[in-house]
Symmetry: C4
């Protein structure tokens, strides 16, 4: 079973998600600053969500470079990840239109947490079909960033109801952690290439 | 005639379908639990529809691994399948917004039944251009799951008008039957590979 | 310059067009037959438009099998074709929602005529970069179907204002002419393969 | 790290952007000329935006022919470009619906300027990972068109508040400059091929 079509489908879904989110920014009927002002919080949320989907795509892209086999479980783990990501446009619109009120901020965090745990399931499903010495197994021996993200998401979801701006700060913090792509794969693939050439 | 571009187009359409469905979940204007409550039935339908499109993509993906040739008839059979799948977002929104009332539940079943019969037509169009000994011909000698699904859909459509929740139960049952990807192809392709290496 | 990425982009745009058209079928708020009745003319138009975009994709797919080179002119001719096709969802919604009244029926015909002439431009741009003996040049020595379609479209646009149902009949007639994929390429590519093997 | 999946993702996002823009043209409820008249300015803006996204895709397509390596920075530079392009449907709808009033015309220019500068960042990120003698480095030794575009955009943004139609003229002028695809790459790749064959 080849990984090509799985990558293509994931790319397609992420491309649509990242683009239809903009439809949640409703075009205002007036042409004044007052008319455009209510769009601002949706726009800020849009930037954050765009960065998150971009991070998922970038990490997915890096990880699948090191993937050799996929099976049915990998495929469904990916569909599960895409399910959580597909909810991002909805919570983006809801959080933005309601000016970062407690419940939508909490819902936004739940979706991000769901996506993070779903990504972890994709990793586990891949480890099951790869050797302990494979690049992908070595890359995930320690997953500091992944664990830190989940911890911050859980904290954000817990405080969202009481201090929504603190939860938002948590989301921004996770985005900043990940905006640098996962260099593990570049380094390990390079080491691997060198080792094979000795 | 190559299958690559056909796969790519089907992937593209299914990726858009699975993603734009989320636009049927209208972002509520309030930020309270009361505001979000009406979205819940649409959300449940969304999960079901996401799983159904995921199943079609997964089975299509598995089946096309074993495909060697495609012709004009295969191409139109695929477009016909995509037509029924493209109606999924509409019936998802209709069934969810009307809290599983008889007519939308019936319409949802008709679309699922249409997609199932269209998938069967794709299989038949492929069998016409493959040998009786090909992997694809052997995989479809017995199609228990496919026949069971059509039977359940027909039953669900018939009862939908009188007992809509029973019809919904039928849809969930079919989804559960299929959530395990079609292992026939993995097994048969493996057997084939072993047979050729003897 | 390779044709792969051009095909992929055209496939992507056509996949989105064929799928977002369904968003023009607004989900009715009621669950009764009276609530769904106004959707019927949009649904009929949706079927017609789905078939038209499917025909364009299928013919594009067949034609590009025989393409060897593309240049900047081919690329812009394709973008021009995609522009006309991108208007299909708009005229589909307009014609359907207004129950086939004269002006929307006329607009629908103008968009179909524009797409047909744009397809012709794509063919001409391809003929400029292929030999007179190439498969593509031989396939388009006579273009009966293409010329017939343009003639019917022109006729339909002219009568649309006075007898809209006759114009619609014209659109259906063109769809029926084309629903059989363009066998010229299959035949000529086969002849070519045989000629080279002599 | 291969460029294939990056190209595929960019193609996917641009294909969705260019197509969902049409959803900003709201289908009018009437079937008369009066009903369709308000759509005209949105339609004109739609044509302009379609041409702009087409130009970006075409230039991206040409440039990536000459690309040999990509790294994490190239990837994020591309996502940044896609972010600005994803705002095009929003400003298209806003400028069109408000009949080219000052603020939306200014916003349209800011988005085009952002996309132009983002494209420049993509070029710079690519130059960092290519030799000084590579085709891509030689192609961008002089970037007259790119610099002229940025200058016109800056001018248009500055005058948009006072003379919006002049700003719109600036946008049209830039589109006309670029509608001819970037022949530098075709010429340089050809020279390169000839040089290698000596």
């Amino acid at each position: 079973m080849t990984k090509g079509r799985l990558e293509a489908f994931c790319d397609g879904v992420m491309a649509v998600i990242i683009t239809i989110m903009v439809l949640e920014m409703k075009v205002p009927h007036g042409a004044s600053l007052e008319a455009i002002a209510p769009v601002l919080p949706v726009f800020l949320t849009y930037i954050l969500s765009f960065v998150f989907v971009g991070i998922y795509w970038s990490n997915h892209h890096h990880m699948f470079h090191a993937v050799h086999h996929v099976d049915g479980a990998v495929l469904w783990a990916n569909l599960h990840l895409l399910f959580w990501l597909s909810l991002v446009p909805f919570v983006t619109g809801w959080m933005g239109e309601n000016h970062f009120q407690p419940l939508p901020v909490l819902a936004y965090g739940v979706v991000l947490l769901g996506a993070a745990l779903a990504y972890d399931l994709v990793v586990r499903s891949l480890l099951r079909v790869h050797d302990r010495d494979s690049v992908i197994a070595r890359a995930y021996r320690r997953d500091v960033k992944g664990n830190a993200s989940v911890a911050i998401y859980v904290g954000s979801v817990l405080v969202a109801w009481f201090v929504p701006w603190l939860a938002c700060l948590g989301y921004v913090a996770v985005a900043l952690i990940w905006i640098v792509p996962d260099r593990r794969f570049e380094r390990l693939l390079k080491e691997n290439a060198e080792a094979t050439h000795v």
